[in-house]
């Protein structure tokens, strides 16, 4: 009997890849939560006697130019980066989601006005605008969150608005209107559940993007205070050691940016696939 192969159509969910991504993220999150609780080492401890040591069993990621343990500082840096990325992505999604929802539902003048505001924000180079926003405050995690949120809420607004406009024209929404549903009920029962997967995907994908922004701003010296461990600060510090051949002080923080980015992207893809009811039921079989 000929084997039946599935051709065409959208890609099926890939649970193995998702499991790997979940495991990676779980390990990273566990590390940033547990390590600061159990270790007695001070991530800011300067030990000039151990400066510039390459990776070894005592210091798996080596030490930086003032003898601080790169592994310990990377874990602290990742904690800051993940937290800043998560909060910035959530703020962007909430603000953008509300704007997109109002624009899509209200339509008319309100829609045009809100979308011109979105266009105005999008017309600005977002990294430069982010630098401007963060420069208004003293270097802090809050300033970085504000910078990323102010420059990125427009993505969520556009996604939500376009989804609302598509859904509004669907016959099942007409059927709900004919069935006596109020506007609020239609939003609650039909629009929000159906646009949630797209908004969730945008939010999750925003996390690595926000991490990159945090590291970029810290790298430029505008993010977190220089003495605090953040992945951007570490790469910035490490670039001075690169010329002396100390590759480890930049490489490992760099890898720790890449790892959650790839894991979150894979997980986001899986979440989107699972959100499709047809695929979900096929997976359950």
């Amino acid at each position: 009997m000929a084997a039946v192969t599935r051709r065409g159509g959208p890609a099926r969910p890939r649970p193995r890849r998702a499991r790997l991504a979940t495991t990676t993220l779980a390990v990273l999150v566990a590390a940033v939560v547990v390590v600061p609780l159990v270790t007695r080492l001070d991530q800011q401890l300067v030990d000039l006697g151990a400066a510039g040591l390459p990776p070894s069993p005592a210091h798996p990621f080596g030490t930086d130019e003032v003898g601080r343990d790169v592994l310990l500082r990377s874990v602290y840096g990742l904690r800051v980066s993940l937290l800043v990325g998560l909060v910035a992505a959530l703020v962007s999604a909430v603000v953008g989601g509300l704007v997109g929802l109002v624009a899509g539902i209200a339509g008319g003048v309100a829609d045009r006005l809100l979308m011109r505001v979105v266009d105005g924000f999008n017309a600005l180079p977002h990294l430069l605008f982010g630098v401007f926003v963060v420069a208004l405050f003293s270097p802090s995690a809050g300033a970085v969150v504000a910078s990323v949120a102010v420059t990125h809420w427009t993505t969520a607004a556009r996604i939500v608005r376009s989804e609302v406009l598509t859904l509004r024209g669907r016959p099942f929404v007409d059927a709900a209107i004919l069935g006596g549903s109020s506007r609020a009920r239609i939003v609650r029962r039909h629009l929000l559940p159906n646009l949630a997967p797209q908004l969730l995907l945008a939010t999750v994908l925003m996390i690595p993007h926000a991490i990159w922004h945090e590291t970029a701003l810290s790298f430029l010296g505008l993010g977190l205070p220089a003495h605090l461990a953040s992945l951007g600060n570490m790469i910035n510090d490490g670039q001075r050691s690169l010329l002396a051949g100390d590759w480890w002080s930049s490489l490992f923080p760099g890898l720790l940016i890449l790892l959650p980015t790839l894991a979150i992207s894979a997980l986001a893809q899986h979440v989107r696939d699972r959100a499709n009811p047809r695929w979900r039921s096929e997976l359950a079989l």
Binding site: P171, D174, G179, R185, R189, P277, R278, S281
Partner: protein, 217 residues
């Protein structure tokens, strides 16, 4: 009486309905035929108060309609069965949610949903299934049950039986006829199938013609 008087509607420069008049009386079945693209579904949406016409008027029981879509008065007086059941149900809903949603929205008891499901041949084991897990026929039965849930005084069936097998067609038409007989509701039956309309309609079958192309400027 549900009536459209000289209704005109355009999408951009394209006129879809050009001074169309049609009236559905309580207790009668009005058949409406016409070629594809002549505006039958658009007329159905206008009569269901989902689309505001650019000209003419729609009256419901003698009163001209002045509010449309969400704010239409007597919103639940008109039921509409859509042509494509797959597009007419929320993909996240179960079959029972589809039927019960109008009752929940208007805070009415759900017993009617069970009764309608039984009348339309939907067994309880289908209640928890989602739209992609049932056939077109089963889905359209649920859509008819949903349209009848609030006991509308007028029911518009927009090519309701297209793509369905003969027995399902006959079953759905019979259930709507039962409903009409018991409530005195008016029915507008829109279809390509003139044979079906000839049998179902209580009067002459109206034909909607393609509007003439408006001259481009």
């Amino acid at each position: 009486m549900l009536e459209a008087v000289d209704v005109t509607l355009s999408y951009g420069r394209r006129t879809v309905l050009d001074r169309v008049s049609v009236s559905v009386r309580p207790g009668e079945v009005l058949g409406l035929a016409g070629p594809s693209g002549c505006g039958k579904s658009t007329l159905a949406r206008v009569l269901a108060l989902l689309l505001r016409p650019s000209g003419g008027a729609v009256t419901l029981d003698g009163r001209p309609v002045s509010r449309w879509r969400h704010r239409a008065p007597h919103r639940t007086s008109i039921g509409l069965v859509f042509q494509q059941p797959r597009l007419a149900v929320d993909p996240r809903f179960t079959l029972f949610d589809v039927i019960a949603e109008p009752l929940r929205a208007t805070r009415r008891p759900l017993e009617r949903a069970h009764r309608l499901a039984a009348e339309l041949g939907l067994t309880p084991e289908l209640f928890t299934r989602r739209p992609h897990e049932v056939s077109d026929g089963q889905l359209q039965r649920a859509c008819v049950a949903r349209a009848l849930a609030l006991e509308p005084r007028y029911l518009i069936c927009d090519e309701m039986t297209t793509m369905l097998d003969a027995s399902t067609q006959a079953h759905l038409v019979a259930r709507i006829e039962d409903y009409r007989a018991s409530t005195g509701a008016g029915v507008l039956a829109i279809s390509h199938d003139t044979e079906l309309l000839d049998r179902w309609s209580t009067g002459t079958v109206h034909t909607l013609n393609q509007p003439e192309e408006s001259p481009r400027t």
